[in-house]
């Protein structure tokens, strides 16, 4: 069983993987641009980073990782044909996604009330645009997951037909994956 399974195709629709790899390329370029532009501005980056409230970043990491875990459980449930459980896990994942957005908005609110803008300095330019760009990906991921959850409740998936769940799940895990790197880069490394 184990040997045969090592040649499985990618989970979900292949098209989503084309998208995922394109997205990873985009984020990879963004991360590299951040790191490379820090090279000649390390002092500025570190000083600005120190003004961030890093707990926001931590809470959001825990939220998104857990949400991703819920989605992994949803995939598992549907593979076993338990579509009600799948729907519940997806609902939980969506709720955590909403929590992520709320926390992030709170943090943006903090930033703006401190008078931070894209023009403040190079670090904040990257901080604001990278996290906002990721924010929009959480929104897109939630739209996709919401669609999958809706189809699950409508009974579109079962133990033999679950490609749709895997497709949405794979995208959501990608959103989680890039956040993990983003968190380290923006909130931790200095």
């Amino acid at each position: 069983m184990k040997t045969a399974s090592s040649a499985q195709p990618l989970p979900g629709d292949f098209a989503i993987w084309v998208f995922i790899f394109a997205e990873l390329l985009v984020f990879g370029v963004l991360f590299s641009a951040y790191a490379l532009s820090r090279m000649s501005n390390a002092g500025l980056f570190d000083a600005s980073q120190a003004t961030l409230n890093r707990s926001y970043g931590l809470v959001n990491t825990l939220t998104l990782v857990t949400s991703s875990y819920f989605v992994a459980r949803a995939t598992r449930a549907i593979r076993h044909g338990r579509s009600a459980a799948c729907g519940r896990w997806l609902g939980g994942a969506l709720a955590l996604g909403a929590l992520f957005l709320a926390v992030k908005l709170l943090e943006f609110h903090d930033d703006f009330s401190r008078g931070i803008t894209l023009s403040t300095n190079l670090f904040y330019m990257f901080y604001l645009s990278l996290t906002f760009f990721h924010f929009m990906h959480v929104v897109l991921g939630m739209v996709i997951l919401g669609f999958v959850a809706y189809r699950t409740y409508a009974g579109a998936y079962d133990a033999n037909r679950y490609t749709g769940v895997e497709t949405g799940a794979s995208y959501w895990h990608m959103v989680d994956l890039v956040w993990i790197i983003l968190f380290a880069l923006i909130y931790v490394l200095h």
């Binding site: 370029v29 963004l30 641009a33 023009s119 330019m125 645009s129």
Partner: protein, 466 residues
């Protein structure tokens, strides 16, 4: 062709090709004026030649897009067009407006044209591609509204495919993005913002969606691949287009007085803009490999497969070369930009228009495909035009690089006219390649006059005896 109302596409396609012909004539004159500054002066000053060339380009592309919409929307919706009569009236209005505007350019000095047409009341004239007088701009909006009304009503009463939604949605986007044409403040920075929302918003945003939808339609029809697969690819391409293209507009904001962060945002995001073009190439060839039938219209297939490739070269590669802020510091507004503009406009939007025309025209004329000899002519025209356009691009790129080095950098930069003199060889090459392009266009247009249709029986016999 499945619905008789699709026939209204035909006048649009024919007018598009006629205007294309006009565009190239003005291009050749402009190229000659580069070599001899007094050629046709003062009857036809360079600025008038130039704007006739570029405006004809935009108008024929819009004609082709509209024809494509009138052809595709009923077929996808599986119902007759809501009002073929309105579509036909709209066609004549649009053609008359275009002709009047061109006559205005040619026979009235531009400033006088502005005074005559109310530019003092609501100033809109003078910016590149948007040189049209106010009445023409209003006409464009009305024509667009008529198209949108017609296709949207057709969609409402018919089948709602994703492809149709994408096509009609992006036509709405095209019209909405035109509205900043009426916003021309004195503040040059704000005026530039508004101008780029249209120009960049079209070619690196909305029109890419139209491009995807047209290619998607042609490939569904010609390869027989499931539409679900095509639509999935289209969604990915749309997502990547918007994700990179919207913020990528910053590559026009570097040194115009906009905030400095655009140097970073514009460089990073526009550098990623080639991705959707690359995905278009992958998409087209994946569909080719998965094809379930051999369509007899080989010429249309050639156009459809070459479009994403040349678009990738012109937009993706040539655009990338001038998009990073430190590079554009030297290359901005040189002939390098013109090289990119030519190959991108031709590869993406001219070629996709010629693809849909190549696919649909035989069907509109009552046959699945043209006779093999007509197709051979068409494909010969294709190769001559593509090859000539690549030579034009390379010549302009050479001129642009010379400007960047001699006029924009070094300790003793030369003056503009001195450098132009040194670039004459490139302008000669451009003009000769332009003549090549023109002859390719004639061959292409000639293919429409070769009669006969594709005959399976005789083709099969020939193939067997060979």
């Amino acid at each position: 062709m499945k619905y008789s109302s699709q026939k209204v596409a035909m006048p649009y396609f024919i007018a598009a090709l006629a205007l294309f012909f006009g565009q190239i004539v003005f291009g050749l004159i402009a190229g000659l004026q580069y070599l001899d500054g007094t050629f046709l002066f003062p009857d036809l000053p360079f600025n008038v030649t130039r704007m006739s060339h570029t405006n004809l380009l935009i108008v024929w592309l819009l004609m082709a897009f509209m024809g494509a919409a009138y052809y595709i929307v009923p077929e996808e919706a599986q119902t007759e067009l809501y009002s073929p009569k309105l579509a036909l009236v709209t066609f004549w209005v649009f053609l008359a407006a275009a002709a009047l505007t061109l006559a205005g350019y040619l026979f009235v000095p531009y400033s006088q044209l502005a005074a005559m047409t109310g530019d003092a009341i609501l100033p809109t004239m003078g910016r590149g591609y948007l040189e049209q007088p106010l009445p023409t701009k209003i006409g464009i909006v009305l024509v667009a509204l008529s198209l949108l009304f017609n296709v949207t009503m057709t969609l409402i009463k018919g089948r709602k495919t994703s492809l149709n939604l994408i096509l009609i949605g992006s036509l709405w986007g095209l019209a909405l993005l035109f509205l900043p044409a009426f916003y021309f403040p004195d503040d040059t920075v704000k005026a530039s913002y508004g101008w780029w929302w249209i120009v960049h918003g079209w070619v690196e945003g909305d029109w890419e969606l139209i491009l995807g939808a047209l290619l998607g339609f042609i490939l569904i029809k010609m390869t027989g691949v499931d539409r679900e697969i095509v639509e999935k690819w289209l969604y990915i391409i749309i997502a990547m287009t918007l994700m990179t293209g919207i913020i990528g507009i910053g590559h026009h904001y570097y040194y115009i007085g906009a905030p400095a962060y655009w140097i970073w945002l514009g460089s990073i995001f526009s550098a990623l803009e080639p991705i959707p073009f690359l995905l278009l190439v992958a998409f087209a060839f994946k569909m080719l490999l998965q094809r379930r039938r051999e369509h007899p219209n080989k010429a249309a297939m050639l156009w459809a497969l070459a479009t994403p490739i040349v678009a990738f070269l012109g937009a993706g590669l040539w655009g990338f070369m001038i998009t990073l802020a430190p590079v554009q510091y030297y290359t901005h507004g040189t002939n390098f930009t013109a090289a990119h503009g030519h190959l991108a406009f031709f590869g993406a939007y001219a070629m996709v228009s010629l693809s849909i025309i190549s696919y649909a025209m035989p069907l509109l004329r009552g046959r699945e495909a043209n006779s093999p000899s007509a197709q051979r002519w068409e494909m010969t025209g294709f190769w001559i035009m593509v090859f000539s356009m690549i030579v034009i691009t390379l010549a302009l790129t050479g001129a642009g690089i010379v400007t960047a080095f001699l006029q924009r950098s070094g300790d003793n930069p030369l003056g503009f006219m001195q450098v132009q003199d040194k670039e004459r060889v490139f302008f000669w090459i451009r003009e000769f390649a332009g003549l090549g392009f023109f002859s390719g266009l004639l061959v292409y247009l000639g293919s429409f006059f070769i009669s006969g249709e594709y005959d399976y029986a005789s083709e099969a016999k020939q193939a067997l005896s060979a």
